[in-house]
Amino acid sequence: MNGLEVKALTKSYGATTVLDGVDLTVPAGGLTAVIGRSGGGKTTMLRLIAGFDRADSGSIRIGDHPADGLPPERRRIGYVTQEGSLFPHLTVAGNITFGLGWRDRRRQSRVGELLELVGLGQAYRKRQPHQLSGGEQQRVALARALARRPDLVLLDEPFSALDATLRGTTRRAVRAALAATGTTTVLVTHDQDEALSIADRVALLRDGRMVQEGTPMDVYRAPVDPAVAAFLGTVCSLDATLDGDEADTVLGRLGTPLRAYGKGMVLIRPEQIVPAADGLAAIVEGVAFHGHDGLLTLRAKDATLVARWAGHLLPRPGDEVRIAVEGSAIASFPDTVG
């Protein structure tokens, strides 16, 4: 069974088409990350699924019930926003039990269990939202969303307002809580690292359409076009002569995912270019050092290459290094098609 089925969803605001026939299927219990640039329609899609806005056309099915026309309060969803949106006039316990009946609210039933689920202690019950850090607020927001055992949880950039250290721990806590409850989840984010690291599946939304959907590894390793490839991570493009399943490049003969012939271009990931004692000679033009690793700009036979090497292997600008490619190209494109 699928946890969420979105079919041919469209939405325009005035003359601007924001969603242009979006399809999305999320397996029950899975976490799908929808990624795309800011303003690309991700949040609009989430708001349509939640029922805050009405779609122009298309259908939405949540769990085993169609959701079209239902108001948000009857869709059995949980919704976590960028800032958490805790109710400032209520304690943590009051927030978590907000969606429960009044008897459960008074008894504060399930508060302890839910706090534990998101990795917070019992001491948090009586705190006010303003006494919590951003990461704690997001955990409480998730506990609140999970309290009603929703069929679907929608996360709208829930980590982007947090600083880097909090982001990692909060992400792990949220992922663990969602996995423990087996809740179907859609995460909207513009951060491809986040999507690749915590999602079961990744869907890429661009100009109001889903351009690719698959496991993080598939999407990263086999992007459908250069723009997708570049969005998911740094790429190194090489001029190539395509020859069926392979291509001739400055770095030698590489396997390609698609059969094509003639002049063209192939893409590889920078981490595929490795030091090799008997490899091609290249001059180091620049080093962008990141600590654990670094990006090298290399020049070899009039071609500019980008390589990612571990920090302890990095040469200095001006050095000569010898390089080779591991694995095959992630994408290839003949010139004639573009």
């Binding site: 609009t44 708001r47 805050f52 309060e73 009857r74 969803i77 800032e83 949106s85 109710f87 969606g99």
Partner: protein, 507 residues
């Protein structure tokens, strides 16, 4: 941000709230409609009514009082704000409260203090002086708040770029205070256009006093409403000025960095500042209070009719509380719609409310009287109609407070509450109402104060036998029974004080 834009795109109004807000908006437009209709029905006769030397004199008088009074308020209010906020004088909070206190003292009590002490105190300059003393807090409060809210980093940047302290003040501080000062000045101008009691007492005439006299002497609507037409035109001019300046009103704080805690500033005026501030306070509060007490103690007409005082105070508090409650309740759908939905309908309804508030009480009263007599005679001189007039007059006070607190509630909270299973009514009850309670309280306090000191509409509309402290004070003081009037003034100030204190503590 995206969610707000999205909400703007789908202009869906909750039908009940829209209907309520629309009714409120229409109610606010009744007085304007009355003026337009009566001017139109007078037709060519209107020319004869208006093309008189008398009208020219009134026009000059009104413009002089309004212009000079607003300028005086900016001068006094601005200087006071600077002295309180920027000299580091001791007791800043106390000074703020004391300087805002004239808001609780109606202008006609201040004029009573001065004119019953100095019988020759009458005419234009006394009018300007009393106007300034009564209304400078409307400039003082926003300018002081703006001074407090300025990011000191901007001034430090100017100093680092080579400006001295004085140049820095005029190049970086003054421009950022302009919106607050202009907004305050326009508010003063609107109040002065409507001011009746103080000007009547100081034996000057403007349109407002002339309308009152015309109505009282002839009970004739057409002459009064022709003058009201001119007055409304002047109000619209002031409002237009506000709309024109509102576009440039933004003095944005750029960048989301943490605002630094401001260090206490002191300068060489620190110990000199209390002197001018004391002069302001003595003139606006000390003189009226002293004179009221003096009459209480010495006058032969002083009487302490305890029963009358208690009854009048009781009906004043009841009317003010009812007015505050009704007006705040009416303001909620309007404020919600304006803050949460874009589009034409909310904007029109909000504007309609401002038109109602900026019309002088006398015009609103005339309109309601005429309409009641013509269509619903049973409403004439009823408490219901008086409360309706208060709502029309003071709706924006409640709307502004509610909007300010609604603006601090992220709309996402509504969405989250919906996703947690609440219907719109439940969201209103369990999220919106608890969160706007403070703002609603502040708005209600403002309306309470305004009703308590309202004179013109109450004089014309109150049911026979219903007297408020203001009207009772007015009838005694205009008969020169100063001693009899004094206890009512005192009681009015005592009752208004808690609400004022509440408001200044918030500011």
């Amino acid at each position: 941000m995206i969610s707000r834009v999205a909400a703007a795109g789908t202009v869906r109004y909750p039908p009940l709230r829209l209907a309520l807000a629309a009714v409120v908006g229409l109610l606010s437009l009744v007085p304007l409609g009355y003026v337009v209709a009566s001017v139109a029905s007078a037709g060519s006769g209107i020319g004869d009514l208006l093309w008189r030397p008398r009208v020219g004199v009134l026009l000059v008088h009104t413009v002089l009082v309004v212009g000079l009074g607003s300028a005086g308020s900016v001068l006094v209010g601005g200087a006071a704000a600077y002295l309180v906020e920027r000299t580091g004088l001791p007791g800043r909070r106390v000074w703020t409260a004391v300087l805002a206190a004239p808001l609780a003292v109606p202008a006609f009590v201040i004029s009573f203090g001065w004119s019953s002490w100095q019988p020759g105190f009458a005419g234009l300059l006394p009018c300007v002086l009393v106007s300034t003393l009564a209304y400078y807090p409307l400039v003082f409060l926003p300018v002081a708040a703006a001074l407090r809210g300025l990011d000191p980093a901007v001034e430090e940047a100017a100093r680092a770029l080579g400006d001295g302290p004085v140049r820095t003040f005029f190049r970086t501080v003054v421009p950022r205070l302009r919106p607050a000062a202009i907004g305050g000045a326009l508010l003063v101008a609107l109040h002065l256009l409507a001011e009746f009691g103080a000007i009547q007492q100081l034996r000057y005439d403007t349109f407002t006093t002339a309308i009152y006299d015309q109505y009282q002497s002839t009970f004739d609507g057409s002459g009064a409403s022709a003058l009201a037409g001119v007055l409304v035109l002047l109000c619209l001019l002031v409002l237009g000025g506000e709309a024109g300046l509102a576009g440039r009103r933004r003095t944005a704080r750029i960048g989301g960095g943490a605002a630094r805690v401001k260090t206490a500033r002191t300068n060489r005026f620190r110990y000199a500042a209390p002197l001018p501030l004391t002069v302001i306070v003595v003139a606006s509060l000390g003189v009226p209070a002293g004179v009221v007490v003096w009459w209480l103690v010495t006058s032969t007409s002083t009487a302490f009719p305890a029963a009358l005082l208690a009854r009048t105070a009781g009906s004043t508090v009841l009317l003010s509380a009812a007015g505050a409650a009704i007006t705040t309740a009416l303001a909620l759908p309007v404020a919600w719609l304006v803050e949460r939905r874009r589009g034409l309908a909310p904007k029109l309804i909000e504007r309609a409310g401002y038109v109602g508030n900026s019309l002088p009480g006398i015009v609103v009263a005339l309109a309601l009287i005429t309409i009641a007599i013509r269509y619903v005679p049973s409403l004439y001189q009823s408490t219901a109609m008086l409360l309706a007039a208060y709502s029309v007059l003071f709706l924006p006070l409640a709307v502004v407070s509610l909007r300010a607190s609604l603006r601090h509630i992220p709309p996402e909270l509504d969405d989250v509450a919906r996703s947690l299973g609440l219907r719109p009514a439940g969201v209103l009850w369990r999220v919106t109402v608890p969160l706007v309670a403070r703002g609603a309280g502040a708005g209600a306090a403002l309306v309470f104060l305004a009703v308590m000191t309202e004179l013109t509409a109450t004089l014309l509309l109150a049911p026979i036998g219903t007297n408020t402290l203001a009207t009772q004070f007015w009838s005694y003081s205009s008969e020169l029974h100063y001693g009899a009037a004094a206890p009512f003034a005192l009681l009015m100030i005592v009752l208004a004080a808690p609400a004022t204190l509440l408001l200044t503590r918030r500011a």
